[in-house]
């Protein structure tokens, strides 16, 4: 390893990227040397995804320069980028569900070798060798669509390794892995580094990969806010740089012991998703449900709202049993659900802000078949004001709003229905730092007003800041129930992934 700047494998200078008026990256300098591991830290929306998309050639920069291996690239595209040895493992893995494991692993390698013929046996050999190199066993002929999430991620890693990668960028590499799997991943990375391969970890929780990294690089709101040797950072200081706050949020006040039970879930099971879930939710309580990706936390949340149909069990709300697997019945019974992926599941991006709220109350404002548009829009407007949505024009498409404001629109839709239980899946995913704290305030306010809130999240500080009780899920089972006030972030992280 050398620090001579000419030897840098990647050198980005003054890189700026704007999307339709929003500056995602603002004059950022970034260098990576061969064999170096760099933590690229930042909260969601800090610009780290944009940075890697620029490197991968998926997006084009607005201004600035990118040098790869000493060469200045003005028109980077995925082909050039991967030929230069830059491999990205995207968070969604970008695999081909209809193709086999072997082919998925070998595809980009064969593509970049410019051979016109496809040799199945060669792709199998290559895939086999790579799988062996990282010591995992996945059937080569299985179609990727049939694999569990963790295996899909491993296939993604193998694909990057199969090409002669000189830099591997891993977007949120550990979200789906258990501690044991993370450790074997780190082992693989140590070996790669010895071969001169550079690695960039992109994550909002980096404590686990800090030990193999040389350098840390922190982005916030599109700007570089900290950079330095990894040894100078720990989990706490990383969080501080990422959020820009020193003071931790106030933990929630404890639940009134006299409060009545709003929702009780008993023996809820769904094959392959979750098993024998039992818990109660009191009025005014914020209950956290956490677990790794694939632990069943989202399936359970969806089942509570009828979006997934459990095989057995019972959900009782206010003394009444809710029919399973029927979101309309659940919504009418008073359950609200704000999904994790706002852009594809939560909002109608091309539709107006006011419509996105009003869609929840159409039937209430309909009289003899016709909508009372004035009262519908009036009510939606009131909720937007109450939640302090900053929008110059409520008739503008909702996609013109920032992440934080979009999330408030999604919240407004459900709050206008006066739910008794509100399920929030990843309430602050993709929300900027300032809005995040405000959304946490809203969550606490909701609970104080007597609503039962369920927060599904793997953002541990968020859980600790909002929840009185946290359920930990592992392989579909609720394995632990923790009092929020009684545990530190590190301890919670350990229990989550052990």
């Amino acid at each position: 390893m050398t620090d001579a700047p000419n030897d840098a494998f990647i050198k980005m200078q003054g890189v700026t990227k704007r999307y339709a008026g929003v500056t995602a990256l603002d004059n950022v300098d970034f260098t990576i040397h061969p064999g170096e591991a760099v933590c690229l830290a930042g909260e969601n929306g800090s610009g780290k995804s944009t940075l890697i998309k620029l490197l991968a050639g998926v997006e084009q920069l607005t201004s600035g320069e990118i040098h790869i291996n000493g060469q200045h690239h003005t028109n980077l595209n995925p082909r050039i980028s991967s030929a230069a040895g830059v491999m990205v493992i995207f968070q969604d893995f970008s695999l081909f569900p209809n193709l086999t494991v072997a082919e998925n692993i070998a595809f980009s390698t064969q593509l970049s070798s410019h051979q016109r013929l496809f040799k199945r046996s060669k792709s199998r050999e290559l895939a086999k060798a790579v799988l062996k190199r990282i010591g995992v066993d996945i059937p080569l002929n299985a179609r990727v669509e049939s694999l569990p999430v963790a295996h899909k991620q491993l296939v993604g890693i193998c694909r990057a390794l199969a090409s002669n990668a000189r830099l591997i960028i891993m977007d949120e590499p550990t979200t789906a892995l258990t501690e044991r799997e993370v450790r074997s991943l780190l082992e693989i990375i140590r070996r790669l580094k010895k071969d001169g391969v550079a690695v960039v970890f992109v994550s909002h929780k980096l404590a686990e990969v800090l030990e193999v990294s040389e350098k840390v690089f922190v982005l916030r709101n599109g700007k570089k806010v900290a950079e330095g040797p990894a040894a100078e950072f720990d989990a706490a200081s990383l969080t501080r740089h990422m959020t820009g706050r020193d003071v931790p949020e106030v933990p929630p006040s404890s639940v009134d012991a006299q409060a009545n039970t709003l929702m009780s879930v008993s023996k809820l099971s769904k094959e392959g998703a979750f098993d024998d879930a039992n818990f109660e939710l009191k009025a005014g309580e914020v209950l956290g449900i956490t677990g790794l990706l694939g632990s069943g936390r989202t399936s359970l949340a969806k089942a509570l709202f009828g979006l997934a149909k459990p095989d057995s069990g019972e959900i009782v709300l206010d003394g009444k049993t809710i029919p399973l697997g029927d979101p309309i019945a659940a919504a009418n019974a008073g359950v609200g659900y704000v999904p994790e992926d706002r852009l594809t599941e939560g909002l109608f991006l091309t539709q107006s802000i006011v419509r996105n709220v009003a869609i929840g109350r159409l039937d209430a404002h309909q009289k003899s078949g016709f909508l009372n548009i004035t009262s519908l829009v009036g009510e939606a407007g009131d909720w937007l004001k109450k939640l302090k949505v900053k929008a110059p024009d409520i008739e503008a498409p909702v996609k013109s709003l920032s992440g934080g404001n979009q999330q408030r629109v999604a919240l407004a839709r459900w709050l206008s229905r006066a739910p008794s239980v509100l399920i929030l899946n990843g309430p602050s995913v993709g929300v900027d730092v300032g809005s995040k704290a405000e959304i946490h305030d809203i969550i606490r306010d909701l609970a104080n007003s007597g609503i039962g809130v369920i927060v599904i999240s793997d953002d541990l500080p968020e859980l600790l800041a909002t929840c009185q009780r946290i359920l930990v899920m592992k392989e579909g089972a609720i394995v632990e129930e923790i009092e929020g006030a009684s545990i530190s972030e590190d301890e919670l992280a350990h229990r989550l992934a052990s």
Partner: protein, 333 residues
């Protein structure tokens, strides 16, 4: 993949279609023993040639995640324009030149689809609906709208070129035209492209996930463009064979057949969402459609019910896997 049958063998479209075909043949033979003969087989094979080539083409489009309804218009355009051109320029032109012209015209028209789909990124159904009427309208307005039965001699002769013909001992007459070889060549060539070239694998990859394909550097536009040119070329070939074997160049023929072709492909297991489709399935689908078109009457269904039958086959062929997928998704949620 151990055991006598591969996993999921019995729920695959190919298997189901094969079972239906066998069932159809058994019922047909029971109600009319003459059905089970070399004559029937050679008739059905002849009827499969044009449909088969078009189906292979349509399958390729479905695998890539699109849908094409214009290939019949391309076929008839290529056939008729080639006939007119040949008669006007050099009536004695040898058959392979005639074929080459028709294939080239087809490829050219396919390229027009390709420009709008790959270049402008327009929805495939709407583009090909549009080009369907553009090609047909252009043909009938500017090239001609008269049936031509005085074909160039080479085309007439082509229809008489036989691999084998004769009469079996039991007195059944049969003939296998060389045109059948065209279907064989097309099938093998397409198999080679799909299974043995990176281009073919890229077609599957695009059908599986366009975004992923882009990210790993597959040239999506070039691949799509190739697909529509290749499909056009195959349509040109199918068209000229259709004209030669029917011994007439009819500018009003073929268009309308696209639904049956798509039915065949969908029955064979190709999915509209892209990424799935096999040649075996497609050819089995063609066999079933040809049976329905030619022998429905043998199993006691009047031929006026033909389009009801094909429509139902499309619905069942797409409905079963779609419903299966919906249930699987509900289970996985």
């Amino acid at each position: 993949m151990s055991g006598l049958f591969p996993k999921g063998f019995f729920t695959r479209n190919e298997t189901l279609v094969a079972i239906v075909i066998i069932g159809f043949c058994i019922i047909a033979t029971l109600s009319d023993p003459l059905f089970f003969s070399v004559t029937t087989l050679s008739d059905l094979l002849r009827a499969s040639i044009v449909l088969g080539i078009l189906a292979v083409a349509a399958m390729l489009v479905l695998v890539s995640g699109g849908i094409d309804v214009s290939f019949t218009a391309i076929a008839v355009f290529a056939m008729y324009a080639t006939t007119v051109l040949t008669l006007g320029l050099w009536p004695e032109m040898p058959w392979y030149f005639i074929f080459a012209i028709s294939i080239s015209i087809g490829a050219l028209l396919g390229a027009i689809n390709g420009i709008f789909i790959a270049g402008f990124g327009l929805p495939t159904l709407i583009v090909t609906l549009g080009t369907l009427s553009v090609f047909r309208g252009f043909l009938l307005t500017f090239v001609g709208s008269e049936r031509i039965s005085a074909l160039p001699p080479a085309m007439r002769n082509f229809s008489r070129m036989m691999i084998a013909r004769g009469t079996t001992e039991s007195g059944d007459f049969y003939s296998l035209p060389w045109a059948l070889a065209a279907l064989l060549i097309v099938t093998v060539l397409t198999w080679f492209i799909l299974q043995k070239t990176m281009l073919g694998r890229s077609i599957f990859a695009i059908g599986g996930s366009v975004e992923s394909a882009r990210r790993i550097g597959i040239n999506v536009r070039a691949t799509q463009f190739f697909i529509y040119v290749y499909v056009g070329a195959l349509a040109g070939l199918a068209g000229i064979i259709h004209g030669s074997m029917g011994r007439m160049s009819d500018p009003f023929s073929l268009v309308g057949l696209e639904l049956s072709v798509i039915a065949a492909v969908v029955l064979g297991g190709a999915r509209l969402i892209g990424g799935y489709g096999t040649l075996t399935g497609t050819l089995l689908g063609v066999a079933l459609i040809v049976l329905v078109q030619n022998s429905l009457i043998v199993i006691g269904i009047p031929s006026t019910w033909q389009s009801v039958t094909i429509g139902l086959l499309i619905l069942i062929g797409t409905g079963l896997p779609a419903y299966e997928a919906k249930r699987a998704a509900a289970k996985a949620a």
